[in-house]
Amino acid sequence: MSLITIAGRERLSHTAPIGPPPSPFLGRHLRPLAVPIALLAIWELLAHAGVADPRFLPPLEEVVARGVAEFSRGGLAFNLLASLERDLIGFVCGSVAGIALGLAIGFSRLLERLLGPVLLVHRQIALFAWVPLISMWFGGGEAGKVVFIALAAFQPALINTWQGVSGIPRSYRELAEVLTFGWFDFARIIAIPGALPQIFTGLHSALIYAWTATVGAELLLNIAPGIGGRMNEGQHLFHMDLLLLCILLLGGVGVVFNVIAGSLEHRLLRWRIP
């Protein structure tokens, strides 16, 4: 997203140099790879030179072998799916509730005044502070985990929807009055399309928060199939290779979520781009 805006800005800039920049250091398309490759090379060197404790710095081929073994046996894949399932259920529940409440508060001044302050305070309670309470109310099993994930997704969805609706410019509200729109037309023609970008922003954050919460729930609550469970195992058995593999998966899922959310956002909000 940011990269696109930058490219656009530079094209318009008055001073964009024509032709190649002076003495480019490494080809443009190679640059993103340079740092990771260098880091991996240093890693590999250190691992083989015997400088670093192999328990802390397993050679890369060990991590790869571990990955191949895990996935061919289906172990890690199964865990990944378990985490994803939990994540998505929580995400859907939380964000639907968040959007619904956000719309209600955004539309109704009374509701906003009644609930706004409570929600503001609620929001200041760090998410993970709910873990002990949730585990006592819903147990540390599947139910507790999903509730926690849903709570994580709920907040950004709610806040952004609320913000989106209440941030609709006064001029649009006046337009609706001039056109004598009823409540429903106002919502359908003005408020929801106007708030949509912000609602998407909320969903996007909700997706990220839900994923964080999934990992947190799996690490903090009862051990169950899932990436977090495997990380617990890796920590207790000192399997650095497994931990690294899990990190890779966590990051990979995050990237995929981001790409999906980004492209959906882009597609659905195409009308906004001037």
């Binding site: 008055h14 001073t15 024509i18």
Partner: protein, 277 residues
């Protein structure tokens, strides 16, 4: 104006204060080439006030940017005292088309910002800023932020900022374009007074033909596609600086007809075609 001999001698020996020599500038917009400026030739002498008029998009702002040194990618040469302009410098200051005040600085600090590279002491700077705010009549607003000013006031701050460095060249890109007619008239007088008082050399881009005639010693008329100089009209002493003087009106009408607007509205296009042929 001195005779042609004096100028050419100066050109060979000492050279003009500002010389725009055969300058062309192309942009590529969406893959297509746009000729923004084509073979612009213009020499400006010290203390002169040159007005530039021309249709929107004929390259006036682009020309000023080149003179400033914001963009050095062009054909031809722009020289100050015979030296090619390589980069912006405090000898050339500008009032942009939009005021471009920094919103996070108050009026005083905005004007003072221009003095950061001046090498002056704090006391001197403070005095200069105060003087120039006084000059544009904004002493009372030194502590105000740009968001709290009206458009005209903001533009006056921008003028103060441009003048505070006592630049040799003052470039003005439609500085009064956004103002109401009354304020504009007042500021025109103000501008004239200041420029004469400080002995500044000024290049003024404007859409207002009256303004061009009223302020300019010469009027450069530009035509678009590609942006070029159609003609340069001197504002002779016979044209008194009185807007209702017949000579004034005659010159204004001549400028207008160069711009393709005729008083009677007929055969303006024919006139234009004849002239640019």
């Amino acid at each position: 104006m001195t005779g042609p001999v004096a100028i050419s001698e100066q050109g060979r020996g000492q050279s003009h204060a500002l010389e725009i020599a055969d300058v062309s500038k192309r942009f590529s917009v969406a893959g297509r080439r746009v000729q923004a400026l084509s073979h612009i030739r213009l020499a400006v002498d010290d203390g002169e006030f040159v007005s530039i008029v021309g249709a929107s998009g004929c390259g006036k702002s682009t020309l000023l940017r080149l003179v400033l040194g914001l963009d050095t990618d062009y054909d031809g040469d722009i020289r100050v005292d015979g030296h090619r302009v390589e980069r912006p410098g405090l000898d050339r200051s500008i009032v942009f088309q939009e005021h471009r005040l920094l919103p996070w600085l108050n009026v005083e600090a905005n004007v003072a910002a221009a003095l950061r590279q001046s090498g002056l002491g704090a006391a001197e700077r403070g005095e200069l800023v105060r003087d120039h705010l006084h000059l544009v009549g904004l002493d009372q607003f030194a502590k105000a932020y740009p968001a709290q000013l009206s458009g005209g006031m903001a533009q006056r701050v921008a003028i103060a900022r441009a003048l505070v460095t006592k630049p040799r060249f003052l470039l003005l890109d439609e500085p009064l374009g956004a103002l109401d007619a009354l304020t504009r008239l007042r500021l025109q007088d103000e501008l004239q007074r200041i420029v004469r008082h400080e002995g500044t050399t000024a290049v003024l881009v404007t859409h207002d033909v009256d303004e061009a005639v009223y302020l300019g010693d010469r009027i450069v008329i530009m035509h678009p596609h590609p942006g070029r100089i159609a003609t340069i009209l001197p504002v002779t002493d016979a044209v008194s600086r009185d807007r209702s003087d017949p000579n004034f009106i005659r010159l204004r009408d001549e400028v207008l007809s160069w711009l393709g607007v005729s008083r009677t509205g007929i055969d303006a296009d024919a006139e234009l075609a004849r002239r640019s042929a």
